[in-house]
Symmetry: D2
Subunit: 354 residues, 4 copies
């Protein structure tokens, strides 16, 4: 297929970490062509000035954001903006016939009241919001394939939900015992605005929790999907931590098993079956636990499973690259489905180690 | 007090990370004098050849290990050796009248059968082992003060138990709900023998769990003390993780409260009272959570407390320097008590930040 | 082209860092098929047991090293072994008709006496050694294309020589003023045997020089090529340093200009012209300096140039991934040339940032 | 000596990295008492809110800056402010009789024109500036002892000049051949205002040069002192780099020897003699090179010396903690001299390793 047949794609919010991931991924995608990069604070600048290492591959400049023009030039638009901006653009882009993938929280919630409680804002896109599909392909593959608007999951919810889903879906655990102790590299904090506690001088050689006690905005997102899987409302204990590294999330998930008779290999079988058709989830052999480095630079989620017969608990470890499977990679995985392509098309599956 | 009045101290196993911490601490202690450094693999070498940065302060060479001679020259002996060696030396040192502080696991267990199950070995020091006191001063201050032999706690147990103790002692939680998700810098793996997975090239920029499912040897140690505090046998879920940094442990501890009526400030009051006389534990103000960097280079344990009223769980975060409060610093804290000195004498309480 | 038409390739020494890079690269190469993995210490083990993150892509097990059998099964053999082993295998592999690429120092020197002086050993492959070509494609592209045996450059020499070559070749600097202050991540130390000073606990949060004063074995290798470029013998000052990170080398190169009249843009023009046909060297715009992160995960060398008119010195900064352009990637680049393929075939050119 | 007899000290600019170092050091100093902390952006806040880990030791709040009041309450004032502010306060503080130590660049230059060229501003403190002494005790001990106003050196100049001084002072090198390749942790960038390139996500796992070609503001400062030592104007080549770590500077210094007959041990003797009375400089044994970690948390400068007989160059490595010997520690060392106390009083000389 020649370049002329490629689908034209735009990114609004191109200069942040979400944006640079998307640019990088699109450069390697065989059926997409990046034609537009939008951003207010960097408008007018050649993209290669922001990220000189891509100078040999990207000739585009960042443009100011004109939604009508974007809709005319692009068949697909990724919105990679701070929360509260996407819902002001998405309706018009949908009207222009674009497929829209939003990387912010704006379209993750089926109940707009939950969104307002956690993110504030004064939304009036009541006609559009219900059309959004939650972009976690391993759980909502068919709906995503038919969607025009996808609300891409947060990084923590992706790792957490892929780890918990088989247990909840099959009723293997007592849902209210679920505890998610999650650890993330600092790139999840974004490139701007800079925060003192994300300086290397502050965050290196140290480890800490934050937003403890269910205060992190990813909590309601995790609970929404857990409740959907369990068939009734589920509360989970979610605690995020900051690891002195750039990329990667490991979620360590604890839950009490309903049936004390199951052994570790049973769980391995159940997980393998659950993810049989999921090319981006790798269930590790019994006794092998994931490390974040394996997933970095790929769209993979590695899952390790352990059972403690003394306590009756299952412990699931789920590792992803927070900026790929946890953000931009998953968005592209969704787009592949929306376009009717292979779910793996143009996405990286091999990290460099070490 | 002149140097001639200082108490002569020896360290067996001086070249490892425990040894170098002890050397460093003893150089600053006003009432102790380091007179002997022992080690088999480095015997004959000037200590300053192993650690050139101390060349201006340490003139001693490492000597081979002659227990009789050590007993003659030292009033206090720190044993900083791999597990399974201390119990072959301690009895003779005690006979010579020495105070002995063991940094290995050999004297941590009141039940030798538990030791054998987890550490193996063929112990016959039945007369001596029961005299050992578990060296966690915040819980066993009085017994330590009268002990001649102290089994110093592991690093993870120190962080975990200081975080859990007030809850268990006062019956505030349902003990079997306790989950300890602990994270450590890699210096806990020791200086030798080198392990591939502790190379910077392997461990940097990555995060992972290990010994999942209650398989870590610190589990029985934690459970022994928890059971003691609760007054009945307690099993806990303990999972260690490796953080890409040198020093520091953060334990994130979850447990379900018995009384849903307590609020966060109540817990703060309870913890502050529990540690009122503990100069090395700092209970942080409500809403402040510790980071490991604050504790590094000090003998302090910082504790943060949070309550999730939605789930009914308390979440306690406990941060220490794994090599100081988690190892050598705590040993010296014990010695201060054994000598009848101030618990804080000669121990660092101010980190450098950042 | 179907898989059956792919060229069968083997790797001897597959379990180290050179080996795992080659495996990773070969999995993405469209014209090569990995059919053999050899190693003594890990013989018999599934490769996916050594590197579980590749379990979904590699089914091979490591085999013990039988040179005859390798020659029968492979058309191309990469030797990724400690120094002093390749020259015992290469002659027989060449006899069997294989193309051989050696990643060790064994075939880097045109003068075997230099090799012996720096690496020792008792070589008797006098008939074979002279057939080896030094595998730096930007300087020796044509000779590599016709070679059957390539001695792949060291990591430091690659970064250093690509930075210095245009200056030396065009006689722009006084050669004996050249100083190379090089800094490398710790993965250059290899995966085994483990060394204490490469532990994360030792190397993290610290920076140091080593082999100062021309004592590093890469010195004669750099000087051999510099002399070749200058047309007379050249001595350089080379000092390696250890950076607390996994991958990447930055060489900062100083030299005094012969002609004080040149300006920075002149040098930019000269470098750009010199590397006009070199797809793996990116000369950065004036005023932009490289960072190692840009190169990591790619086969690229980024070069930045600065001129200090006050001192009359040029300062060149050259950044590579020490394990790719500095090792395995460059080897594959050589193979592409040896096979008559595009120099860029199957090699990564886009890092993930940040 | 009781607390009532301690000298009252104030810090203006207490919330940055310079400020927190000074606070930390003053808490351990036996003859000084911290009575005032000043800062505009954090005025009114308890200092323990900014740095909770010091909550057990610091009760002061940050106050807004009233120079008259400071002069009344303090006998000693440290100014730890961005460049260009100190010279507006110092004259009045001196008038009130205070001893003033400025950590910025304002009082480092004997020629105000050099200051203006590199730092700008419209200075009119012509009466005061000439009274300032450059606060590098190893070179200007006697003048510092008699000064009322000290301009404390930059971090890079401290490491560079201590490494170069014996060579220049004794005429051992050809001055114009001096090249300083310096590497610093990122805390040198300060705590505020935050810069994108100092985020952990940007700076970790990467290495780069900046301000190449003599563009860094520390260049004229280094040259001023080098010229003073050499007795004539000296230009040096100075290139700073950023290391992915928090603290520490290593300067690798190259220069061509005048006398090719000297050997390494001669240089060791010369350096040892030069620093005979300098308690904060440790000349390492021949063959031992410093690493930054050894110096961190101390006021020490470790120096290693190597000679390359092939090239005729000396290579000196100088390691310091950029925030202590490179900033706040050295300021306190100067104050000790100004007060007529031991140069080592209250300053840390033992790091924690690893």
């Amino acid at each position: 297929m020649g370049d002329s047949e490629r689908i034209p794609v735009g990114i609004v919010g191109a200069s942040g970490y979400g944006g640079i991931q998307l640019v990088r991924l699109l450069l390697d995608h065989p059926k997409l062509e990046l034609v537009y990069l939008g951003g207010e604070s960097t408008a007018g600048k050649p993209f290669a000035e922001l990220y000189p290492h891509l100078g040999h591959r990207v000739n585009l400049s960042v443009e100011s954001v004109d939604v009508e023009a974007i809709g005319d030039r692009c068949q697909v638009v990724f919105l990679s903006l701070p929360n509260g901006l996407a819902y002001k653009m998405a309706p018009r882009l949908l009207d222009k016939g674009c497929k829209v993938l939003d990387l912010s929280a704006d379209y993750r919630f089926s109940d707009l009241q939950t969104y307002k409680t956690w993110y504030g804002g004064d939304r009036d896109d009541f006609a559009v919001a219900p059309r959004a599909v939650y972009g976690l392909p391993e759980l909502y593959r068919d709906r995503i394939a038919e969607a025009q608007l996808v609300g891409c999951p947060g990084c923590y919810p992706t790792a957490s939900l892929l780890g918990l889903a088989p247990l909840l879906k099959q009723g293997l655990i007592i849902p209210e015992t679920a505890i998610i102790d999650a650890k993330s590299g600092t790139s999840g904090g974004g490139r701007q605005p800079p925060k003192v506690d994300m300086l290397l001088a502050e965050a290196d050689s140290s480890f800490r929790a934050y937003n403890v006690g269910g205060r992190h905005r990813h909590t309601p997102e995790i609970e929404q999907v857990c409740s959907d899987l369990a068939g009734h409302e589920v509360l989970v204990q979610f605690t995020p931590h900051l690891v002195p590294m750039v990329r990667g999330i490991l979620a360590t998930i604890y839950a009490t098993m309903r049936d004390p008779g199951l052994v570790r290999d049973d769980l391995h079988t159940i997980y393998s079956a659950f993810y049989r058709n999921a090319p981006w989830v790798r269930v590790l052999p019994s006794g092998t636990y994931p490390q974040t480095k394996w997933a970095c630079g790929t769209n993979l989620c590695y899952i390790g499973i352990e059972l403690d017969s003394r306590t009756g608990r299952v412990i699931v470890m789920s590792a992803i690259d927070n900026l790929l499977k946890g953000q931009a990679g998953q968005a592209l995985q969704c787009l592949n489905l929306m376009m009717g392509w292979e779910e793996t098309l143009g996405l990286p599956q091999l990290t460099f180690y070490p």
